[in-house]
């Protein structure tokens, strides 16, 4: 059995692209083996920032030989009268590269045919590989490619060496910038010279000897182990966020974990600022005590061994000190001002051209928030809080700290507002009005914050749509999909009685009158309604609601998002029941008949003219529905209870009677049913499987 090793040596690749790249390489090799009927025992992938490697073991020497019998022309045309092979038979032999003596006759479906016997010798595996090596390398695709030097190839980063070993032999590959060899390189600084590989199987041992650990998972566990021993030694906790740990593991070839510290005074900064500085800017892990309070330490992972660790720690401490000094500078500068200083400043910052300043945007959010709060009948105190949140919600955008760390918008607002003695709900509201920021995110906790969160999002959408800014394909630079999704999420989970169409219109009107724009409000709200409809459909799909049920609910149009979701839950319980199916079919019949008549003909019923018992019975049951309140829980039971009366009605009663009064009455009953039912959903959209 044989082993093959391919290592592509590169200048440092971006951390997050390494694992997908090496997987692609492995997939290509695997698929070549499959296509060429080559078995393999094991395929291992290895990678570091400077190398992508695949080690394939248990490879056969060659493909299996094949004995083929190839069918040729029928005997009738394969032989001359004298028994010699005809031109046709000779041609067949030539085409298949066999001599005429290897031709023979055999029956195929009761007819004689000429056949050729041919033995195909399996190709040497190394030869098959040799033919594909270059493609494996070149076919790798990356999110972003570059060229280098004078070469044509576009690749993730410059290729610097190729190691290609069939057992102990170099398998040649030639690219425009490099030829393959039987050597690799060790750690950039600890072992910079080329290192010879006697055999492919010795990859791990050889690399280990030159301070390279090419096994990602193993490298990661080395880091985790070293961090754990620091934790045990010092009795603190190091938080290793998954993405950061993966990134750090892909930034080093030979990890050594080091502990550094910073001045305790910096702990006066909000913890979010400290963590952001450490994790995002420096790729450090933050350190906590048992009570989950930050400690003045950080953990960094060096690419190298422990020699001169003190110097490296010293350097890192200097950097974090400079960074935290920066942050403290911003924090102190920001606190020199009252909150009104920042809101004042918002007057000078344009939100969108012709859509006013950030301050004007806040004014719109404020007026929408108050309108929503009043609509929801919040009490005086709550309304005051809503007002204050709306007034302050974007002030921190003008702070130096948020200019430096945009991801801390809202968070800094909360801190600064608290330092200035704002009430607790207001402080939280400033941070939470951005929520939910993604599908699984939490909603704002308090009703006051929810109201502002909604107003903020509605104003953003109305503004963008008024400027004809819409998401296209994957491009959604203002995150409008997420914004609309946020509204749908809030309305679903909070069950607030707010109609999307209504408040979309109010948001557009608020913008229009504040900026004196003369907008085509109808166009904007129509586009937004469609946009929201897609988001709601998406939301329901994600909740696992069946496609036809979504369709039925969306065509209904009158239910609020959370009502749709509740009703979808009830429908799910009934979808398989035969009684429900019958009921839906009965109602759909009534809906279809009433659709065929224009509404103006159908204004009232003449109860005295009801003559048949079936129509009287049905009317008795339908009449209470005419002005009934929306009752989600009773909708489906009522539907099912109505079914016998509707079925009897259609069995026994001729709706389109010649007598206009009778006809009018019967249509009226159908229409009442249809109107009642469609307030909930469009039943005709439901799809039943035939068996039920």
């Amino acid at each position: 059995m044989n082993t093959y090793l391919l290592e592509i040596g590169l200048e440092e690749m971006p951390a997050q692209m390494i694992l997908p790249a090496v997987q692609q390489l492995a997939d290509s090799i695997q698929s070549t083996c499959q296509k060429n009927k080559l078995s393999l025992e094991k395929l291992e992938t290895y990678s570091t920032p400077r190398r992508l490697a695949v080690l394939v073991s248990g490879l056969p020497d060659k493909q299996e030989d094949q004995n083929l019998e190839i069918k040729g022309p029928p005997l009738t045309i394969a032989k001359e009268e004298n028994g010699d092979w005809s031109k046709a038979a000779q041609g067949f032999a030539k085409k298949n590269q066999v001599s005429e003596t290897e031709l023979f006759v055999q029956k195929f479906k009761n007819q004689d045919f000429v056949f050729a016997r041919k033995e195909i010798q399996g190709k040497a595996t190394s030869l098959v590989f040799k033919e594909h090596l270059k493609d494996w390398i070149i076919a790798l695709s990356f999110p972003r490619n570059m060229r280098w030097g004078t070469y044509k190839l576009k690749y993730i980063r410059p290729i610097r060496w190729l190691l290609s070993l069939w057992n102990d032999q170099t398998l040649p590959i030639s690219l425009e910038m490099v030829q393959s060899g039987n050597f690799s390189y060790g750690h950039r600084f600890l072992n910079p010279e080329p290192i010879n590989l006697p055999h492919a199987q010795q990859y791990l041992t050889v690399l280990d000897s030159v301070k390279v650990n090419p096994d990602f998972e193993n490298r990661k566990s080395v880091i985790v182990e070293q961090v754990k021993s620091l934790e045990n030694q010092h009795g603190f906790l190091v938080t290793m966020e998954k993405d950061l740990l993966n990134e750090v593991s892909n930034l080093v070839e030979w990890p050594t974990v080091l502990l550094g510290r910073f001045d305790e005074d910096f702990l006066e900064l909000p913890s979010e600022v400290l963590v952001m500085t450490m994790a995002k800017h420096q790729r450090y892990f933050p350190v906590y005590d048992k009570n989950n309070s930050l400690l003045p330490f950080f953990v960094t992972v060096r690419n190298g061994d422990s020699q001169h660790a003190d110097l490296v720690i010293h350097g890192n401490e200097k950097v974090i000190r400079a960074r935290l000094n920066d942050a403290r500078f911003f924090f102190q500068e920001d606190q020199k001002h009252d909150l009104s200083f920042f809101t004042e400043k918002s007057n000078q910052v344009v939100f969108f051209q012709k859509r006013g300043s950030i301050a004007q945007r806040m004014a719109r959010i404020q007026s929408l928030s108050l309108a929503i709060a009043n609509h929801l009948r919040l009490d005086k105190k709550q309304i005051d809080t809503v007002n204050r949140i709306a007034e302050l919600c974007k002030f921190d955008l003008q702070s130096q700290m948020v200019a430096e760390f945009p991801a801390l918008q809202g968070t800094m607002g909360e801190h600064y507002a608290r330092l200035k003695g704002e009430n607790e709900i207001v402080c939280q509201g400033i941070r939470e009005h951005y929520h939910p920021r993604f599908a699984q995110d939490t909603l704002p906790q308090h009703i006051e914050c929810l109201v502002v969160a909604l107003a903020d999002k509605w104003d953003m959408l109305a503004t963008a749509f008024s400027l004809k800014i819409r998401p296209t394909g994957t491009a959604d630079p203002y995150a409008l999909r997420r914004t609309a999704q946020g509204i749908v999420q809030i309305l679903n989970q909070s069950k607030l009685e707010l109609s999307i169409q209504e408040w979309t219109r109010r948001a557009a009107e608020t913008l229009n009158s504040q900026q004196k724009l003369n907008l085509d409000l109808h166009e904007i709200t129509t586009a937004l309604d469609q946009f929201f409809e897609l988001r709601q459909r998406f939301f329901m799909q994600e909740a696992g609601i069946r496609y036809d049920v979504i369709e039925a609910l969306m065509k209904g149009k009158t239910l609020l998002p959370h009502q749709q979701k509740t009703l979808a839950g009830f429908v799910r319980q009934h979808l398989e029941s035969p009684a429900f199916k019958l009921a839906v079919e009965a109602i759909v019949r009534a809906v279809n008949i009433s659709k065929s008549q224009s509404a103006t003909d159908l204004e009232k019923i003449d109860e005295k003219a009801l003559s048949l018992s079936e129509e009287e019975e049905l009317w008795k049951q339908v009449k209470p529905l005419v002005h009934s309140d929306l009752d989600l829980e009773q909708y489906l039971p009522t539907l099912i209870n109505l079914e016998p009366a509707i079925t009897a009605f259609f069995d026994k009663v001729m709706v389109m009677d010649k007598n206009p009064v009778k006809r009018q009455n019967r249509l009226y009953i159908c229409q009442t049913l249809a109107l009642w039912s469609s307030r909930y959903m469009d039943l005709s959209s439901l799809v039943f499987s035939k068996e039920t």
Partner: protein
């Protein structure tokens, strides 16, 4: 961006330069109060075209020359791609970390002035204040010793304070918007006369004026894109004219004059 970088990385001619470049970033102005943030800092910029294959090793040797032994430190190449939207220029590369501090921006130029680079240049920009603060063990940039017996503060504090005050408090936005328009039209006039270097000077003035207005908060999000596009358009034009004029001159800076002649002909056919 220095014309020795922007213009000379366009086209096939050989080009190897290094110089100290004062780099102005109006948004980073902090009145000289911040220990690390400056309106104007200094970069040692290196361009090599074509880039040598062992450029990373050459770069690391340069750090050794500065007294930084890689075995005593943690040196990392961390992905950081570079883009200058006003100049239609971008490249891929890294920020080089020295014990967690970014000391160099290292870029393989892919496009300049909207033109595909061929061959590819490497640009190394050493952050001089950062390196100096490392070597001199200083926390605050103003505590650096500029040359023996002369502090950084004695020279640069005043301009930092003044530029910051000007940008954030005094600057007359309407006037600068007017300047921008004038520089733009003068750049265009230069381009009509195919005067590449004067045109590029005016493009730089446009770019700096834009940066000042941007720092002063006078440009809205949506206007921003439009201003960027105006400067970019000029950059694309000046790049194309520069390349054509060099072709007409027969690419005199190419070491390999046979290739130069071939390229001149090939490009002529494409015109």
């Amino acid at each position: 961006m220095n014309p020795a970088t922007f213009l000379r990385t366009i086209g096939p001619e050989d080009w190897n330069v290094a110089y100290v470049e004062p780099s102005r970033r109006p948004t980073d102005g902090r009145y000289g109060d911040n220990p690390n943030r400056l309106y104007q800092h200094h970069q040692y910029q290196v361009i090599m075209k074509p880039m040598p294959d062992d450029v990373q090793e050459v770069y690391l040797e340069s750090l050794k020359t500065l007294g930084i032994n890689p075995l005593e430190h943690d040196i990392r190449f961390v992905e950081d791609n570079w883009e200058a939207p006003t100049l239609g220029a971008w490249g891929l590369g890294w920020e080089v970390w020295l014990d967690g501090m970014e000391v160099t921006q290292y870029t393989y130029f892919q496009q300049v002035g909207g033109l595909e680079c061929s061959p590819i240049s490497v640009e190394l920009t050493y952050g001089l204040e950062r390196l100096a603060s490392y070597i001199q063990e200083k926390e605050n940039v103003f505590d650096l010793e500029y040359v023996e017996g002369v502090s950084y503060e004695a020279i640069f504090k005043q301009p930092e304070v003044e530029h910051s005050k000007y940008t954030f408090e005094v600057l007359d936005a309407d006037l600068l918007f007017g300047f921008f328009d004038q520089y733009e039209s003068e750049a265009r006039r230069c381009l009509e006369h195919e005067l590449v270097f004067p045109a590029y000077d005016y493009i730089l003035k446009c770019s700096h004026t834009f940066n000042q207005l941007d720092a002063a908060g006078a440009i809205s999000v949506s206007e921003r894109a439009a201003y960027l596009a105006r400067v970019r358009k000029l950059s694309h034009q000046v790049a194309a004219i520069f390349l054509e004029k060099r072709r007409q001159l027969g690419f005199p800076l190419m070491k390999d004059q046979n290739t130069a002649k071939r390229l001149v002909k090939e490009m002529e056919k494409q015109l």
